[in-house]
Amino acid sequence: MATNTETLGLKKPSQEDFYNVDDFNENFQKIDDFATGLKNVDNTSDANKPVSTAQEVAIADAKKAGTDAQNNLNSHTSNRNNPHNVTKEQLGLSNIVFGSGSPVGGAIGGGVSVGSGGAVGGNAKAGSGGAVGGYAEADTGGAIGFSARTGRGFAGGYSAKTLDASDNLIDAIQLGYGTNPNAKTLQVYTYQLMNANGLVPSERLPIIEGTYTGTGTHGASNPCSLTFPFTPKVVFIFASTNVDAAFHASMPIIHGCATARIHFRVDASSDRCYSDGIYLTWGDKTLSWYATNATYKAPMQLNASGVVYKYVAIG
């Protein structure tokens, strides 16, 4: 029994069918009709396909609209003249005085008072200096931090103040919480780092002095020791009481050395002096030493019984 092809429906006689010219012609006619359709297809590439006049106009209009929008956006974003007429009330800054709105200088913050300087922060107050922070106050100096107050100096930190005993602003520097009552000095918290003469107070320098009382012992198993608040670079030790019993001993010590020389007077009548070796051991902030002199024993270790030795260490 004859069948048909799926696409063009051409007749396919079976093996048992007789040849029929009409079937043959009918198939060729379908093929010819199909070929006629293919012949009319436009094979132009996409890039070269023709555009209608209407489409061309529409495309040009869209391109111009895009260009105009970009130009307008560029112009707007470069406009620094408040084009939207935003007011400081709209920004919630109605209580703030900017620049020329203040008496002379500049002020930002509610309740500020300013002379020719600048003040930033609630109730900040500045003469011709600058005050930053709530209740900060500066005369002609600078005050930064809540309740920081200064005269012609500087106060930085919470409640940092430079005031005299009568609560008057003075010319000094205070860093950190605290009040500096001494004019022309620098104070950090409660520690004065520079006095009015521009010098560092001695208690701030890496120098320590003190004493120890000799125990009368000596030798490697009985070393003397001192502890310091820093690593000393130089240590000087002198017998300061009962110096005859101590043979007037003294000893300079340099940090890092394994030994030092003790100097002592052995004969008061002739003022004859000797020196002997001392063995040193250094810790981070400690120094210990011992002597092995079998003749003079403990005094040669700067450790005569009951003798007070004075030392000075420099860091």
Binding site: E203, T213, C224, S225, A245, Y296
Partner: protein, 108 residues
């Protein structure tokens, strides 16, 4: 001036000791002697110590408050010890000149 003493005594009954303008913290094994404590025969004696708080000013909410910032050993009792008799001062060794005179039999 801070006064420090080593808690452990030496063989002769004395204690290593030190005073200083500033030693912080107190070394381990040492104790602080109160300023008003009498210490006869120092450094020979026995001591009793106890832990004591170290007070210091600390900033709290912008205010300076005295608080405990550490602990240290503190001497509570000083029992004077016996001071050993001083050893006789050794005769100084002869000088080179003295040795030479001895060898030559020369009287000074």
């Amino acid at each position: 001036m801070k006064r420090l003493i080593e808690i452990k005594a030496l063989e002769n009954g004395s204690h290593r000791n030190q005073t200083a303008t500033d030693i912080t913290p107190t070394p381990r094994g040492w104790a602080v002697i109160p300023d008003d404590m009498e210490t006869p025969n120092f450094p020979f004696g026995d001591i009793e110590v106890e832990d004591a708080n170290i007070m210091g000013l600390v900033g709290v909410d912008g205010e300076e408050v005295e608080k405990v910032i550490g602990t240290e050993k503190r001497v509570t009792k000083w029992i004077p010890g016996v001071v050993p008799e001083a050893e006789p001062t050794p005769d100084p060794e002869p000088t080179t000149e003295e040795l030479l005179n001895i060898i030559l039999g020369v009287d000074e």
